[in-house]
C-alpha cells in the first residue's frame, strides 16, 4: 500500500509538467471536483428534504398528540386517536428476531466460504447466497404466507412451546402462524445474504500474513478463525450486521403479509403484531382524514429517526471496535 502510494507520488513529481497540457488538465480536475461535490451534496440535501417533508406532514399529529404519539397504545382511525407504540415495538421485535436467527448463520456461512470451502462448493454456495438477495420481497411474503406460516402454526410454534424455550416470557400460547415470530423468521432469511456477503468481504480483506502467523503459532484452523480472523475483521462483520438490521427494519411487504397486522402492545412472539413500515403501506392510500394521514407521516418520521439512532449507535460502537481492532 505505502509503496504504491510512494511510487505514485514519485511519478507525478518527476514527470515534466511542461510535456502535458497543464491548463486543461487543471481545469478538468477542477470541474471534475465540482461535479463530484455537487453529486455528493445531493445526498445530504435529499435526506434533509425527506426529513423536512416528514416533519411538515406529521406536524398536525404531533401537535394534537404530542408526547403521546410516541407512547400511545391505541390506533383508532374512527375516533382519530393515534399512538405509534405498537408499531415501534413490532418493528424492533421482528428485527431483533431476524438478527438473532440470521447473524450466526450468515457469519458461519461467510467463514465457511472464506476459510473452508474450495472450488465448486465455494462458487456454488456463494452463488446461492447471492441468489437469496435477488428474490423480491413479495415472493418471500407469498412463500411465508403459504408455506412458513402454516408450518409455524402446525409444528414450530407447538414445538417451541413444549421445549424449555417455552418458559421464556416472549413465548405465550401459539395462535395462528401469522405472528411476530413468523415475520422475524422470514426476515432472517431475507437479511441473510446481505449479512453473509458483507461479512465475507470483511474476512477476505484479512491479510494472509495474519492467517499464516496464526497457523505458524500452532493454532488450529478454528482457533485461527476465532482468535485472529474474526477480531481482525470485526469492524466489517459488525457493519454487515448493521446493514442487515437496516434492511429488517425497513422491510415492508413480506412483514405485512406475515405479521398479522394487529396493533397490539405485546412481547409475546406468538401473537400477531404490526410494524411501522407495514402500517404506512397498509393505510396510506385509503386514509381520508387529515389527522390519519398526518399520523402515518408521523410513523414515517419515527421510522426515519429510529433508523438514524440505530445507525449512529452502531457507528459509535464500530468506532470503538475498530480502535480496539487496530491496536
Amino acid at each position: 500500500m505505502e509503496r504504491r502510494a510512494a511510487a505514485e507520488g514519485l511519478s507525478s513529481a518527476t514527470l515534466p509538467e511542461a510535456r502535458r497540457p497543464a491548463a486543461p488538465r487543471g481545469l478538468s480536475d477542477r470541474s471534475f471536483r465540482t461535479i463530484l461535490g455537487v453529486l455528493a451534496a445531493a445526498l445530504p440535501l435529499m435526506e434533509a428534504v425527506v426529513l423536512v417533508e416528514l416533519l411538515q406532514g406529521s406536524l398536525p399529529a404531533l401537535r394534537t398528540f404530542g408526547w403521546h404519539f410516541l407512547v400511545g397504545r391505541t390506533w383508532d382511525p374512527v375516533a382519530e386517536v393515534f399512538g405509534a407504540l405498537p408499531f415501534i415495538i413490532g418493528t424492533l421485535l421482528t428485527s431483533a428476531v431476524a438478527l438473532v436467527l440470521a447473524v450466526p448463520i450468515a457469519i458461519g456461512t461467510a467463514i465457511l466460504l472464506v476459510e473452508y470451502a474450495t472450488g465448486w462448493v465455494r462458487e456454488g454456495l456463494g452463488f446461492l447466497v447471492e441468489l437469496l438477495a435477488a428474490i423480491p420481497s413479495i415472493v418471500y411474503g407469498l412463500w411465508g404466507m403459504v408455506v412458513v406460516a402454516p408450518l409455524m402454526r402446525a409444528h414450530v410454534d407447538p414445538f417451541i412451546e413444549a421445549s424449555p424455550l417455552g418458559w421464556l416470557p416472549i413465548f405465550g400460547r401459539p395462535l395462528l402462524g401469522l405472528s411476530l415470530l413468523t415475520a422475524g423468521v422470514v426476515l432472517a432469511i431475507m437479511i441473510l445474504p446481505i449479512v453473509a456477503s458483507v461479512a465475507r468481504e470483511a474476512l477476505l480483506m484479512v491479510p494472509s500474513e495474519q492467517r499464516e502467523a496464526g497457523l505458524a503459532l500452532g493454532l488450529t484452523r478454528w482457533e485461527t478463525t476465532r482468535r485472529v480472523l474474526l477480531p481482525y475483521a470485526r469492524a466489517g462483520v459488525f457493519s454487515a450486521i448493521i446493514l442487515g438490521l437496516g434492511r429488517a427494519m425497513g422491510e415492508t411487504m413480506a412483514v405485512t403479509m406475515l405479521v398479522g397486522n394487529t396493533p397490539a402492545v405485546t412481547l409475546d412472539l406468538f401473537q400477531p403484531g404490526y410494524s411501522m413500515s407495514a402500517v404506512i403501506a397498509n393505510e396510506f392510500s385509503e386514509a381520508t382524514t387529515t389527522l390519519h394521514v398526518s399520523s402515518l407521516f408521523g410513523v414515517g418520521l419515527l421510522l426515519f429517526l429510529l433508523s438514524l439512532v440505530v445507525n449512529s449507535m452502531a457507528r459509535m460502537l464500530l468506532r470503538g471496535l475498530s480502535h480496539a481492532g487496530t491496536r
Partner: protein, 375 residues
Amino acid sequence: MKHVLPLTLLFAACGEPTPPGQMSEKPPAPATTAESTKSGGKALNGAGASFPYPLLSKWSAVYHDDKGVQINYQSIGSGGGQKAILDKTVAFAGSDAPLPQDKWDLAQADGGIVHVPETLGAVVPVVHLPGVESLRLTGPVLAGIYRGTVTKWNDPAIAGLNPGIALPDHDIVVAHRSDGSGTTYVFTGYLAKVDPEWASAVGRDTSVNWPVGVGGKGNEGVSGVVSGNEDAIGYVELAYAALNHLQMVQLQNHDGNWVSPTMEGVSAAAAAAPDLPAGPASWTAVDITDEPGAQTWPIASFTYLLFYQDMGKAQGKRLSREDAEATLRFAWWAVHDGQQYGPALQYPALPAAVVTLDEQTLKGITWNGEPLLKD
C-alpha cells in the same frame, strides 16, 4: 375496495383489441362525433379507487374505440382520488366512500363537488368450516364475532340460527383487512348499522381499531388467512369470493329473508335506498347497507365518480372547457351504455332510479354558471 381479479378477467377488462399498454402507441381512432373532434383525441385524466378499476379499464377501451377519446384512470385508492380532485390535478376522481364532511366543506369554497354513483359493490363474509354446507348468520351475530363476544362456532347464538348443523367446538379465527379499503368501510358500516354496540365502540371507516382478529393485506390476504385456517371467518368483495369459490355465508336481510349474495341482490339494495341526495348535496351520510327488499343483499355500496359542480370556476385554469365537456360525456356514457359491461366483470348494474339521479346531477354541472351538457 381493492379489487383483485384473476389475470384472465383483467385481460377481458382491457378489451381484446387494445390492452391499455399499447393504447398510447396506437393512433387515435377517427373521430366520430363533433365533441371528440374538439377534444382532438386528447387524454382525460382521472384517479382514485382501485375497486372500480377493472370496469373503468373496460370502459376506457370501449369508449376509445367508439368515440376516440382516451380516458386515463389511475387506481391510487379512494383517499388518493379525493386528494387529487381537491388538489385539482385530475378532471374526475373515483372514490368508494363519499367525501367525508370536512373535505366536503373544504370543496364548498370552489363551488362544491358532486357525487355520481357509477357502479355497485358488495361485501361477503366467507368462512372455512369443513363439513358445513351453508352457514347462516345475522348481522348482530356477525358483529358479535367481530367484537369478540361470540368466540366459539358452537356458541348458542350461531347454533340457534343453524339448526341441524354440527358446528365445531372450536375458537373462531377472525380475519379482517389490514390495508385501508372501501371493503372495510362498507363492512364496518353494515356492522355499525345493525349493532349499536359496534357503532359506539368501533365505528365505520376504511380502517378501524379491530377488537379481535388478524389483518390480511388485500382480499387475497384475508382469503389467505381464511383458506389457511380451519374455523376462520373473513370478509371479501363479492367478485373476489365468487371467482375464487370461497365458502360464502348466508345473511338475514332487513326483510328477514335468508339471502345468498347475488348481483341482483346488490342492485336491489341500491334501488331500495330512499332519498338519495341530489345535485351538489353532501353524500357523507349515504349508506345502502341493510336496505329493505325480499332479495336485497345487506352489505352493499355505491362507488362514485367525483366532479366539481362548476368545473369552469374550480378547474378553469387547468382544464379546458372542451375537456370538461368530454369528461362529462364519458360519465354520461358510463352510467348508460357502460352499465352493460358490468355484470361480466361482477359489477352489478345501477338501478334505473339511480341512473335518473346521475342524469340530473351530470346535467347540473356547469362551466362558469352555464350547463355543460345541453341535450
